[in-house]
């Protein structure tokens, strides 16, 4: 199944490689769907096979989620690597895997600055959470852009995505971060629910943000295609 898809995508990209990398909305939808299915299947596995859930065993569930999501994301986004001519698919995969720990460190530091609890009992949770966040944000970008500082800068600092691939990376990543930020808000409330603990509700927020971001990225792809049609006419 994967091979078939690969063939499709390469054809698609080589066509639009000249100035801006553009994918058809159906491709965007498909790749986002795969990411979403990856997430959903990891949850399904956690609950039905390993009988763990995010609330009772946050660390192990988070680990399961990112373990499943990382290969999906890396393999998928490596297909869209920017420097298609210079670097091979395997190299893009390696870049993505390298981006994982780097992103995790950034996210962990950010969370701690924002007030995530530190301590030995939280170490595993924070580690797994930041790896998951890294999967949402850094890994796709690392696979696609590699060490191209200009692209990273454009996506994450300036938030100026150009093509649909840029949107596919930029919007879900921002969605995940913003969703995580909002997800932290219920934490101080005195409802005394277990899901208020770090990092459960933050994870929920991030996942919801990520899904919304993917939806927005798909919409933008559709919108762009339709506006191009208008221009063409």
């Amino acid at each position: 199944m994967k091979n078939k898809k690969k063939g499709h995508n390469i054809k698609d990209i080589t066509r639009g490689d000249a100035v801006v990398q553009n994918l058809s909305p159906s491709k965007v939808l498909l790749s986002h769907l795969i990411c979403g299915i990856g997430l959903a299947s990891s949850f399904w596995l956690a609950i039905n096979i390993y009988s763990i859930n995010l609330i009772d065993n946050p660390a192990s569930t988070l680990r399961l989620i990112w373990l499943i999501e990382v290969p999906v994301v890396v393999l998928l986004y490596s297909l869209f690597r920017k420097d298609m001519n210079q670097s091979s698919y395997l190299k893009a995969v390696a870049r993505g895997l390298l981006g994982l720990p780097v992103g995790a460190v950034v996210h962990a530091l950010g969370a701690i600055v924002l007030g995530a609890p530190v301590g030995t009992q939280y170490f595993l949770r924070t580690l797994n959470w930041s790896l998951l966040m890294s999967t949402f944000t850094f890994v796709p970008a690392a696979s696609v852009y590699g060490s191209s500082w200009v692209d990273w800068h454009r996506i994450f600092a300036q938030t100026k995505p150009i093509g649909s691939i840029d949107y596919m990376i930029c919007l879900p990543a921002h969605g995940a971060v913003i969703g995580g930020w909002f997800g932290a808000w219920p934490m101080p409330l005195d409802w005394e629910r277990t899901w208020q603990e770090w990092p459960i509700c933050v994870t929920y927020g991030a996942i919801i943000g990520y899904l919304v971001g993917m939806l927005a990225s798909f919409c933008s792809a559709v919108f762009r295609v339709s506006s191009q049609h208008v221009k063409g006419d």
């Binding site: 007030g115 800068h153 600092a157 101080p188 005195d190």
Partner: protein, 883 residues
């Protein structure tokens, strides 16, 4: 130019116009807060009347019975005295679980079961002793509680301010009645008593109570006088007030070695006291008819805090022990006690009593008039413990006799309750007639109906009650009904009074809030106008920037978070979260423009340090590290930031003097001068602050200096980026928001939180050994608001001037307008935050935590706002000088 024209037109000098604006805002805020506070912080009218012995003839209860034994002094006042002498030992901040056996709680904690002597006597069937769970009414501060205990009323929140001055109680109270009726009172311990009752004691041994660090002076003073005094016969009531547990809680927390040592010490002392009393308890001896009360005035939380209304603070205990042997068993209808075995297998029973009832019960036992303003009920259990002991020698303990005895007791109790109800009814009638806001008509009518019902019943009962022997068997139920009726009446009065004295004047609160909103509107209007003026009309400008949107969001989020008690509790972390968010956005911005990445990173790093400091500050200083070398290091560490600060100060002064020396033009620049002034005033203030706040002072001062510098630097980021195309509002909103968030972070970093127990009373004693209210209140204010309000407000010009100290000279007028705008924005942020706190107080006024959480937060914010406004006024005079 429009700018200069405006500046000239609005007044003859910018300084005056700026001052006028800020003064107007200050004035509006003051009026609003005064109005709001008068509606919110409750007050109670104190009535000047005092109860008299002769008053009882007006009551429907008939004259008290003559004691069959023949009175020694021939006079029986309101009730028949049941005890001759009373020993009250007050242990300040006595938690309920210090007294009750640990089996009453889910988990045994180290501080439980330390007062073994109380368990022992409470469990012995032949001793008339009992442990009560005493429920206090908030506010649970010592002064309020002593006032409540002695007057039998409900002291209100507004009195909290008096806790410093401890003014004499003018209202009728237990001690006054004791003195009035010829009882001799001896007091020892906490000097709050002598402040409350300056002329009442025959003998007093007061010890200063305000030095919280001192665990032993008051207690040792008490101990040295207590036992010898017990052998004397020149007193009728003895009050000994121990403070050690309260102080140990404040300093070390409940779960500490010091606390357990204190409790063990008390256990020993109580054992001695009981021993002495028992040795003298024989017939005709000194303590033949003595009642011993060991009681707490309020509880405390695990951290040793008190003042609010949480169960830990409200639950305290009373241990009562009568030296006359057997007491009667009260019918279970009146007895809400629960019994459990303690760890040694002894059965200990615990009853419940409201602190409100204390004054009435003790008055009834001693046979003195109830305090005029008392709204308590004579507690059946405590009354039975002692008043069951009349003439018991005359009866055999057979069951029929005990039934008769019980009936006799109930008859007595009904009579006491009758007097009690009559006195309470009289009080609420007079209160309504004489105070501005009395009880509502409906409530009064309801209560009056209940009273009438009870009295009618008692009239019908009187005929029956005169009988004796078997015929009266039927009257048992009638008596019970009678007691129930009176009890219901008294309970509903207490209920009514609780709502009444916690009822708010909504109109005043509304007006105050309205004025606050108006002041915010004016604030916004002025900001808008200044913004419009500074924008050059010729050029196309965007008055809205990303920074502005972010700042508005952050400020609104912070303000809205005050609507929930959880966020107020976690305010330190909340503020830090928001500051970190805005700091990270700044970092992103600096990466975007590829400028000042170092500064932005340093700022984020600083925030993370602050974050850990806040968490450390929230937990009480625990046991000091064992290693001596570490202690030296900890003692010496603050010198490091002190040296750094000194270097920074030297550098900044050296720089400016250097500039002065070589380029005489520089001095005329406003920015240079403002920086110099700011540095001068900040170094003056921060040295005071560092002395007051102890070891952490230099660290926090350094953090605030570094933070301020970084924000000023980062401001340049936006300035360079956008140049003159954006308005001042868009330019300054983000740095000023950061500035204010950093300021409130520093408040929490320095170990404060918005509660009265978060005040650092120790700071008030820096340089003073004695307690004098004004200088120490000032010191306390400076310590509390120093890093969070005084320094940031006075240092704000640095934010504006920073750019100009190194750049080409810009127009002084424009920089003055910028400063004006910055102060306006800063003031607005403070005002918005406080307005939301006020709104929250309005919404949550019926919340359980209103006195524990919202009211202190309100007071802290309001004082902070006024202080900031006043400081802005001062700064406008200080900085707004055109050269």
């Amino acid at each position: 130019m429009a700018v200069t024209e405006w500046w000239k037109n609005t007044s003859c000098g910018g300084r005056r116009s700026a001052f006028m604006v800020f003064f107007l805002v200050l004035l509006l805020h003051c009026i609003a807060i005064l109005l709001f506070t008068s509606g919110f912080l409750l007050t109670r009218t104190e009535l000047p009347h005092h109860s008299q012995c002769s008053d009882v003839s007006q009551s429907p209860c008939g004259l008290p019975d003559r004691s069959p034994q023949g009175d020694h002094d021939g006079v029986t006042c309101w009730t028949k005295p049941a005890v001759d002498r009373l020993v009250i030992i007050v242990l300040d901040a006595l938690r309920f679980d210090f007294v009750a056996p640990s089996t009453f709680f889910e988990e045994k904690k180290p501080w439980m079961d330390k007062l073994q002597v109380l368990h022992k006597f409470a469990s012995e069937s032949e001793s008339a002793a009992r442990i009560f769970k005493a429920i206090a009414d908030p506010p649970t501060t010592s002064l309020q509680r002593l006032k409540g205990l002695t007057t039998g009323g409900l002291p209100t929140f507004i009195d909290i301010g008096n806790s410093f001055g401890a003014p004499a109680i003018v209202e009728d109270n237990l001690i006054h009645q004791l003195v009035q009726n010829g009882k001799r009172v001896v007091m020892m311990g906490d000097d709050t008593w002598t402040q409350l009752f300056p002329h009442h004691f025959n003998k007093s041994y007061p010890y200063p109570s305000f030095n919280v660090k001192d665990l032993d002076t008051v207690d040792n003073g008490c101990i040295s006088h207590l036992i010898p005094t017990l052998y004397d016969d020149d007193w009728d009531v003895l009050i000994a007030h121990f403070l050690g547990v309260d102080h140990a809680g404040h300093i070390f927390g409940v779960d500490s070695v010091q606390m357990i040592e204190k409790l063990q010490q008390y256990n020993e002392q109580l054992e001695k006291v009981v021993e002495v009393l028992q040795s003298q308890a024989g017939r005709g001896s000194l303590h033949e008819n003595t009642l011993l009360l060991v009681m707490g005035d309020h509880g405390q939380t695990i951290n040793g805090d008190h003042g609010g209304g949480s169960a830990e603070e409200v639950d305290t205990s009373i241990f009562a022990m009568s030296l006359r042997k057997p007491s009667i068993t009260v019918p279970p209808e009146f007895d809400a006690s629960s019994c459990k075995l303690d760890l040694d297998g002894r059965e200990v029973c615990i009853s419940s009593i409201e602190q409100l009832d204390f004054a009435a019960t003790v008055s009834a036992l001693l046979g003195i008039p109830f305090p005029y303003g008392s709204i308590g009920r004579v507690n059946p259990m405590l009354y039975a413990l002692v008043a069951g002991t009349w003439n018991l020698e005359d009866y055999d303990m057979s069951s029929s006799q005990s039934q008769l005895k019980l009936e006799e007791w109930m008859h007595n109790y009904a009579k006491v309750l009758c007097i009690n109800s009559w006195q309470v009814k009289k009080y609420i009638d007079v209160y309504t007639a004489s105070s501005v806001i009395g009880f509502s008509v409906d409530d009064l009518k309801h209560v009056a109906d209940m009273y009438a019902q009870a009295v009618n019943w008692s009239d019908s009962l009187h005929d029956v009650a005169s009988c004796k022997d078997e015929a009266c068997r039927t009257s048992f139920d009638a008596l019970k009904k009678q007691i129930d009726l009176y009890s219901n009446f008294l309970a509903s009065v207490a209920e009514l009074a609780r709502t009444k004295f916690t009822e708010f004047n909504l109109r005043m609160m509304g007006i105050g809030f309205g004025i606050l909103l108006i002041s915010i509107f004016i604030h916004v209007l002025v900001i808008k106008r200044v913004d419009d003026i500074t924008v050059f009309p010729s050029r196309e400008t965007s008055s809205v920037s990303f920074g502005l949107i972010v700042s508005c969001t952050i400020v609104t989020a912070r303000a809205c978070s005050f609507l929930s008690n959880s966020y107020i509790l976690e305010e330190g972390k909340m503020t830090n979260f928001l500051l970190a968010s805005i700091g990270m956005l700044g970092l992103r911005h600096s990466i975007m423009t590829k400028k000042m990445i170092f500064e932005a990173t340093a700022f984020v790093f600083l925030i993370s340090i602050l974050r850990f400091t806040i968490e450390l500050g929230l937990s009480k200083p625990q046991e000091v590290l064992d290693f001596h070398s570490w202690m030296y290091v900890a003692d010496l560490m603050p010198i490091v930031p002190l040296i750094i600060l000194a270097c920074l100060l030297y550098k900044s002064i050296a720089c400016s003097s250097f500039l002065q020396f070589f380029e005489e033009v520089e001095i005329s620049k406003w920015g240079e001068m403002a920086v110099m002034k700011a540095v001068a005033i900040l170094s003056v203030w921060s040295s005071t602050l560092m002395i007051l706040s102890g070891k952490q002072g230099p660290w926090i001062a350094l953090a605030s200096v570094v933070g301020g510098w970084l924000i000023s630097r980062l401001k340049g980021l936006e300035q360079d980026n956008k140049n003159a195309t954006t308005g001042l509002l868009a330019l300054y909103s983000s740095p000023v928001t950061q500035w204010s968030l950093l300021a409130s972070c520093l408040f929490f970093c320095s170990g404060h939180w918005c509660a009265f127990d978060g005040l650092r009373y120790a700071a008030a004693f820096v340089g003073f050994d004695e307690f004098t209210i004004i200088p120490q209140a000032i010191l306390l204010t400076i310590e509390t608001y120093g890093f969070s309000h005084i320094l940031p407000t006075l240092g704000l010009p640095i934010l504006v001037a920073y750019k100009y100290s190194s750049n080409e000279a810009k127009q002084t007028r424009q920089s003055l307008i910028q400063l004006f705008q910055v102060y306006l924005i800063y003031g607005l942020i403070m005002a918005v935050t406080t307005t939301f706190t006020v709104l929250c107080v309005i919404i949550q006024k019926r919340h359980l935590m209103v006195w524990g959480l919202f009211a202190p937060k309100f007071v802290f914010d309001v004082v902070g706002l006024i202080l900031t406004d006043a400081l802005i006024c001062v700064s406008s005079v200080f900085y707004f000088i055109q050269t």
